[in-house]
């Protein structure tokens, strides 16, 4: 068999340019994220735990606390941030620096695929549908990367990233912004949620991402009349995760019908005044006090 020189044997540059372009993409993210003090990833391994609700409310509370804050809705297929924040749909300005994110009344800078789509329009990508499993993951990672690098976030104390369920986007974030990212794990009290969130947080730990702590959402039901918190879900996932992973339990947020109504109509001021909102505002204060964001 004849000896053919290997890739490494060839000293000439890689003229396909693929490696250089991938490196350039990472440098674009680096340049943008240098102006962001902390990226706070709000993660869970499971859908339906109210992660987007926690992320949007927390970002709003941080913006109202005097810092500069942004919210990146990284749930590309189920974006909710603009509606939770009551953001009106306007055209996004494009400048040489990037796409200017909309700003809510509290100064929170927001980006989401929801801003790009018609009401109710699903996210669809062009490409050969029959083989979409081959390229869809790369494309969604690329979209996430562009949301970090090509949105004109400006100087931020904190960029809250609302991650979709599962660990994949968290792993991508660790790859793209390894130095500034901290993670908050959101769970509900059930054992199923605990197992899923533990998996995500271990994936974060495997990539050396610092974990700020656990938030237990839907931690009981807050009575709209007397304010007392009664049982809602069985389990103690927040405490158990904190114990097992040696992390602080940062907040317990009860289900609160008043907060849910405010979220439904995009009334963040009302939401933050609710029982659940006050718990999240206290979480924001704690994170600021501890220097997490």
């Amino acid at each position: 068999m004849r000896k053919i020189r290997t890739y490494a044997d060839l000293e000439g540059p890689d003229r396909s340019g693929l490696g250089d372009q991938l490196a350039l993409q990472h440098r674009r993210v680096d340049r943008r994220m240098k102006a962001v003090r902390t990226v706070l990833a709000v993660a869970s391994g499971k859908g339906g735990v109210g992660k987007s609700f926690v992320a949007a409310t927390l970002a709003s509370a941080l913006a109202r606390g005097g810092g500069t804050a942004g919210l990146l809705d990284a749930d590309l297929n189920g974006p909710t941030a603009p509606s939770l924040l009551g953001l009106p749909r306007r055209s996004l300005s494009v400048t040489n620096d990037g796409v200017v994110p909309p700003v809510d009344s509290a100064g929170l800078r927001v980006f989401s695929t929801d801003l790009l789509l018609e009401d109710g329009e699903p996210l669809r990508w062009r490409g050969p549908a029959a083989e979409s499993s081959v390229w869809l993951g790369s494309l969604e990672k690329g979209a996430f990367r562009e949301f970090l690098s090509d949105v004109s976030w400006g100087e931020l104390d904190v960029l809250v990233v609302d991650l979709p369920p599962g660990a994949q986007r968290l792993v991508e974030l660790a790859e793209l912004v390894p130095k500034r990212t901290r993670v908050i794990g959101v769970t509900i009290p059930t054992s199923a949620s605990k197992a899923a969130v533990a998996r995500s947080l271990r994936a974060a730990g495997d990539r050396d991402l610092p974990i700020a702590g656990i938030v237990e959402n839907m931690s009981g039901y807050a009575c709209g009349s007397c304010g007392a918190v009664g049982p809602l879900h069985p389990g103690d996932a927040g405490d158990a995760l904190a114990r097992e992973l040696d992390l602080p339990l940062l907040a317990r947020i009860p289900f609160d019908a008043a907060a849910a109504a405010c979220a439904e109509r995009g009334d963040m001021n009302g939401l933050l005044a609710s029982r659940a909102g006050q718990e999240i505002a206290a979480l924001a204060e704690r994170l600021e006090r501890e220097g997490a964001p």
């Binding site: 693929l18 055209s91 494009v94 790009l116 329009e121």
Partner: protein, 152 residues
């Protein structure tokens, strides 16, 4: 990715890229010693795998536009999602303006509004870079191939 001319034991250089518009791609590599050329042909799925990474085989010659991958890959999208500045306001003031032939303008108008502004900027940047004063459909074809703009 590197290409080796086995007869000459020389690394081949990138020659050109062609996008016929059916989702396939041809990338030509040339041996600097003997001049032999080979074309790497990819099927639509393979082309898509590369473009999904946000990269162009053979490299880029014009700057990447903000959210270029998202805007060029999204199927649909809100018509008024982006407010683009006038093209001339975002290019160098010392370069002469680029005119759009009526036929090219009509073709541009057929591009979905979601991505039209970005496409116009890319073609204008390409024309300025190549000293072209009027963009015609032929120039658009040439730019699309040179820049690897599948689907634009």
């Amino acid at each position: 990715m590197k290409f080796l001319c086995i007869d000459c034991d020389e690394q081949m250089g990138f020659g050109e890229r062609q996008l016929p518009g059916d989702g396939t791609l041809a990338a030509v590599f040339r041996c600097p010693a003997c001049g032999r050329e080979v074309a790497m042909l990819t099927n639509p799925m393979e082309t898509q795998v590369v473009s999904s990474l946000g990269i162009k085989i053979g490299g880029r010659t014009v700057p990447e536009q903000p959210l270029e991958l998202v805007r060029s890959s999204l199927d649909g999208g809100r018509d008024e999602a982006f407010a683009e500045p006038p093209v001339d306001s975002v290019t160098s003031p010392e370069t002469s303006p680029v005119e759009w032939a009526e036929t090219a303008t009509r073709r541009l108008e057929a591009v979905p509004s979601f991505v039209r502004g970005m496409v116009k900027r890319i073609y204008t940047d390409y024309a300025k870079e190549h000293g072209i004063h009027e963009i015609t459909p032929e120039i658009m074809d040439q730019a699309r191939t040179d820049l690897g703009l599948e689907g634009m």
